[in-house]
Symmetry: C2
Subunit: 270 residues, 2 copies
């Protein structure tokens, strides 16, 4: 038995689907080497899993959401040697997680499954409260724009972003040796009563890309910018010419895509 375990290495892999209210977190990522660093989602989940499983757990998140950004469907993976059933991990994790994080799903996967490398797409929502009065219940989860937004203009402008482009003007990423090309599959802009939701689906996004695109689309909805202006900004590739990023609190990572067989125990035996 002991031999088998040693041979298997990290015996089990798990895939977690997490929801969190990002308001009181300094983002997803634990800052390496800081013993008493800022409160991050990764750090909170790792500490709870380490306590539950009795071994040091390191988790990998599909997307490193920024400070204040929310998630309804973040995905994280980890491996462990302690025997534990997925359903039990979920239940016990929810019992000890802080109330602004919840584990929605836990499933056993191949220990080689990596939530970030295996991800093939992500969906983000940017939410605007578009009415004169503020809403106390949505103040943490939406950006308040008083002036009426023209959805036709926003949709026309959104179409400019769809497809493969160099998004240099739409990221705060500084690294010069990296590619700024990304493929955006779709953007939908829908009004639901006083809420205007922009939903972005793509293979992957650059740092702050969704928030900068969101502010650009809001500017289009207010008549301050239009589709031609966006085309020019994309072509110029100068960050300073594009709008600032819309507030983090309006952004939520809705879901992460994986190939259907990705990480399943049968498809990827260790």
């Amino acid at each position: 038995m002991r031999d088998m375990k040693t041979k298997q290495g990290p015996a089990r892999g798990f895939k977690l689907t997490l929801a969190y209210d990002g308001t009181d977190f300094k983002g997803w990522q634990r800052l390496a080497g800081e013993s008493r660093g800022p409160r991050t989602v990764q750090d909170c989940v790792e500490k709870c899993l380490t306590r539950l499983l009795g071994e040091a757990i390191v988790i990998c998140g599909a997307g490193r959401t920024d400070s204040g950004v929310h998630a309804e469907g973040q995905v994280a993976s980890f491996a462990c040697v302690t025997p534990a059933a997925a359903e039990k991990i979920k239940r016990e994790l929810n019992a000890i997680l802080p109330r602004d994080i919840a584990c929605l799903e836990c499933e056993e996967v191949s220990p080689r499954f990596h939530a970030r490398y295996a991800a093939t797409g992500k969906t983000y929502r940017y939410r605007v409260l578009n009415r004169d009065e503020p809403d106390p219940f949505l103040r943490r989860y939406s950006f308040h724009v008083r002036e009426p937004l023209d959805l036709g203009s926003m949709r026309g402008a959104a179409a400019v972003f769809v497809g493969t482009h160099d998004f240099s003007a739409f990221t705060n990423l500084k690294a010069k040796d990296k590619s700024f090309e990304r493929n955006l599959g779709s953007i939908t802009v829908e009004r639901n009563d006083d809420l205007v939701d922009m939903v972005f689906h793509g293979d992957g996004f650059l740092h702050n890309q969704v928030r900068i695109m969101s502010q650009a689309l809001i500017d289009c909805g207010l008549g301050k910018l239009d589709a031609d202006g966006l085309r020019a900004l994309l072509a110029a590739r100068v960050r300073a010419q594009a709008p600032a990023a819309a507030g983090a609190f309006g952004l939520c990572l809705l879901s992460v895509d994986y190939p259907s067989e990705s990480g399943t125990l049968s498809a990827a035996p260790a």
Copy 2:
């Protein structure tokens, strides 16, 4: 001009519709005589109005919501002599109110309009999150019940409360000289995905009545109590025999009813 003003007394009356996230308030009511008392909704709104209008404003709320209870449609009235347009009051109030309170409407009414005395009905919602996993976004606004609720049982039990009854067993009100009789117009119990909402409409409610009835209906949904049990509790009129009050955070004052002409400037000239 000066004479006219003196004759008119408090020249103007206003009716405010307010929404607030009750989480960080010690309820609606300002505690009289406390110069640095706990944070209450009434106190916050009065301070903002006093600052805006340049005269000491006292507001009267239709319902004195408890600590932690929310409102989507609380109504409050006040009178003032400073000339000001309702729309301007609303706009400027929202600019200086803390972000957990919003003014949804402001209309000029007769200065004799009194939000509490004129009210003819109130609607409260008690919200339950009924699924295994917690929800970080609803943690302040719903009571988490993991075990599946049987809505048929809850509806059957709710029918017992409807009508005129002595609700002595369903209030924490202690006063012995008051009437405990109240008329409950309707209770609806609806499931919307993982949320179970109980909506109570009545002429008025005793202290903690909605929260105690809510816990009783939840107990019915879990099979711990039934319609016959509720009938016995109502008849016995002993507070200690009925359930404890469900958590304040699940409760929200949705709206307050007034007769259609109530407070209108034409119907009630000063």
